[in-house]
Amino acid sequence: MADISATKKQREPLIHVVKRDDMLSWQAWLIRGATVLIGLIIVGVLSMLVTQKGFFETYEIMYSGVFGKLFEGYTTMFWKYLQEIAILLCLALALTPAFKMKFWNCGAEGQALMGGLASIFCMIEFGEKLPYGVLIAVIAVTSILAGAIWGIIPAVFRALFNTNETLFTLMMNYIATQIIAYYVYIEGGGSNVINPVSAGNFPAVGKNDYFVNIVIVAVITILMFVYLKYSKQGYEISVVGESQNTAKYIGINVKKVIIRTMAISGALCGVTGMLLVAGKDHSINTNLVGGQGFTAILMSWLGQFNPFVMIVMTAIVVFLRIGVSKVADASLLNSSFSEIMVGIVILMLVGCEFFIHYSIKFRSKKKEVNA
């Protein structure tokens, strides 16, 4: 028995949280893997209870929703899956340098919309006038610039006036949405719809329309990994993120790094907009990005700012998103069902990071000798 008077004086709480550094990387991955598995099982059980379908049937439907009849020669849906991953991943990659710098860019949506706007504008205005190669180059340059400018504006205000970038970038989303709405009104006439433009589309490779998009994002993924890990600028971003004062003392121009990094972040969002317009829709509306700019924030975090981990995370989340909405459609449920299911798994993934980095200690009966 412990000394009662001593415990009264210095009462240990029932539960306390301790930071842990001792977890090996494979152990952490085991936990993440198990979380996804348990998440999938929970989704399966809940789906089964709601839809009255069999347990394994639910997974069959999910699988068919994502991969279709892949092994019977129908590849369209599989490519569509890769395309959805590519878009979400590209946005997550775009946000990563900013987040690493602890600049909370919540404006991926708007920056991508502006990139998309630049693309559709060039496709409509120069589509007939320029040769194909030049047109694509013009689309690429203007989209990148448009996204970058939309990212630089809040960065400049942050660097010079120390404004709150979270609110600033969020507000910029609304401005971008309204600009698109106005452009659609001008171009679409009374009908509020811009019909797909045939000029300036990315070429289909084989029978596959999304191949170019997927390759572009694959290249960006590798470049971003190298940039963050091995380049001097990548190092500067980490230092500014850790401590702006340290950065100043070792002679890093913090303002320059903030603006430059946001230009890159915005430019990559602009690229995403271009992929969506020139590589997919060939048209634009305010719903172009469909809220993925916000999902991407989570993807960047869950991927621990590592581009290759982000591939895994986006693949899981997109799988769930498509698969569960197929389950919902097959059972004539509405979309809230799929949103709830995806939400549950994302929440579990966020939660499991907590247990990887911290351990929970219960009050032990015996007093520990060394803390």
Binding site: V45, F55, F56, E57, N192, S325, A330, S335
Partner: protein, 401 residues
């Protein structure tokens, strides 16, 4: 690690139990017709617009004993094409139907790729010029339904005048519209003309929200119309905003897309809506019989596509039901034409000729003469509405595109 294993085992056990009790409820399905319909919806059943289609899809497919699959939340983008491909390749659908205007171009693309599959699209405009034998548009002459609803509104105004609540010159209606384009203009004009046919002194104010679904904006628009002296409200937008605003202050309301009587027991008069069941049945029957589906199909009162809900006798004027039956009969036998130019003027003049943009092109060029023998024929040259004339008696308080 032991603890972890124990938890994992427990989870696996629970799952197996569930798996064992699920999965045994198939096998009693009756023999269905070997045909499957795929539906693509813009939103899901939370939108009254999509719900109207979803209810009809269910009713038609059950009545025809065919299977169907659906994809909800499909934006007006390339996703529509992908959804069509999925419904064909994975679900094995033989007919694809999409419900939103912006789906059209992407559906046409899919129609080109799958010539053996029939594609049907509501509210679209391009089928009659696309030159595809497997792509079809459909709409309904909902202006006739609105006209009938307008008659009910006019009778209510007459009752208010007779009761001394308002004078004849104060008979002003308010209308909450979504966007300032043909579908909405055609709708409010036919509603107004219906009211005017029984209450000649009526005028109308129109306010637009710039959105198909925005409860707050629709509510505010209705409130400001009421504040501006409107004594009866109708709307062409998909939320409950306007009806509930009316119920709160006791202003009579003529609704759209379905009855709002449960939320507005004291003010709801009647509602018009398009019933898509006849079209779905028609399109399925065509495919079963191997016949061609109409390139441009217009549902009417006769086909059962344009319908009115039950009249709320608590709010409607006396004798409304009988009058509506009478007018409906006249619409059916052709003795009343909704857009008869004898009944309306533009800047004081009767319209003798009008060219509308019927064939879709980039410049929205007006291309087709639509007035014949003094009647503006809506939905004749194309199922989707093209009446966009601004007539006297209706004041547009704003414009939203």
């Amino acid at each position: 690690m032991k603890k972890f294993l124990a938890i994992l085992l427990a989870v696996v056990f629970v799952v197996c139990t569930f798996a064992a009790c699920g999965g045994n409820n198939s096998g009693e399905e009756e023999k269905k017709v070997d045909l499957k319909v795929g539906f693509i919806f813009l939103h899901d059943d939370q939108s009254t617009y999509d719900k109207n289609f979803m209810d009809a899809a269910k009713a038609a497919c059950e009545a025809m004993n065919v299977e169907y699959a659906q994809k909800t939340q499909i934006p007006e983008s390339r996703d529509c094409y992908d959804a069509a491909v999925e419904l064909i390749e994975v679900d094995g659908c033989d007919i694809i139907f999409a419900d939103s205007f912006g789906h059209e171009s992407f559906l046409i693309e899919a129609a080109q790729k799958y010539p053996d599959v029939q594609f049907c699209h509501a509210t679209g405009t391009q089928a009659h010029t696309a030159g595809l034998s497997n792509f079809h548009n459909a709409f309904a002459s909902i202006y006739e339904g609105r006209y009938l609803a307008g008659v009910a509104a006019g009778l209510k105004l007459n009752e208010m005048i007779a009761d001394g609540k308002i004078t004849a010159d104060k008979a002003k209606m308010g209308y909450v519209g979504a966007f300032t384009f043909a579908e909405v203009i055609s709708g409010y004009t036919s509603f107004y003309l219906g009211a005017k046919s029984v209450c000649p002194s009526v005028t109308m104010d129109v306010k637009f929200t710039g959105s198909w679904y925005d409860e707050q904006l629709e509510k505010e628009a209705a409130q400001s119309l009421i504040a501006g002296g409107c004594v009866l409200i109708s709307q062409h937008a998909d939320s409950m905003g306007a009806p509930t605003a009316c119920e709160t202050v006791g202003v009579p309301n003529v609704s759209y897309n379905g009855s709002t009587i449960s939320a507005c027991p004291n003010t709801f008069i009647v509602s018009s809506r398009i019933d898509w069941t006849p079209y779905f049945k028609y399109m399925i029957q065509c495919v079963i019989d191997g016949k061609a589906i109409d390139t441009d199909w217009t549902g009417t009162i006769e086909t059962g596509s344009v319908v009115l809900t039950d009249i709320n006798t608590k709010a409607a004027a006396e004798g409304t039901a009988a009058k509506l039956e009478e007018v409906k009969g006249k619409l059916l036998d052709g003795s009343i034409n909704v857009f008869d130019t004898a009944n309306w003027t533009v800047k004081g003049e009767k319209l003798a000729s009008y060219k509308a943009d019927v064939d879709t092109d980039a410049n929205f060029e007006a291309d087709t003469e639509v007035i014949d023998n003094g009647v503006f024929y809506e939905s004749k040259h194309r199922s989707a509405p093209y009446f966009d004339v601004r007539i006297d008696g209706i004041t547009l308080l704003d414009e939203k595109y």
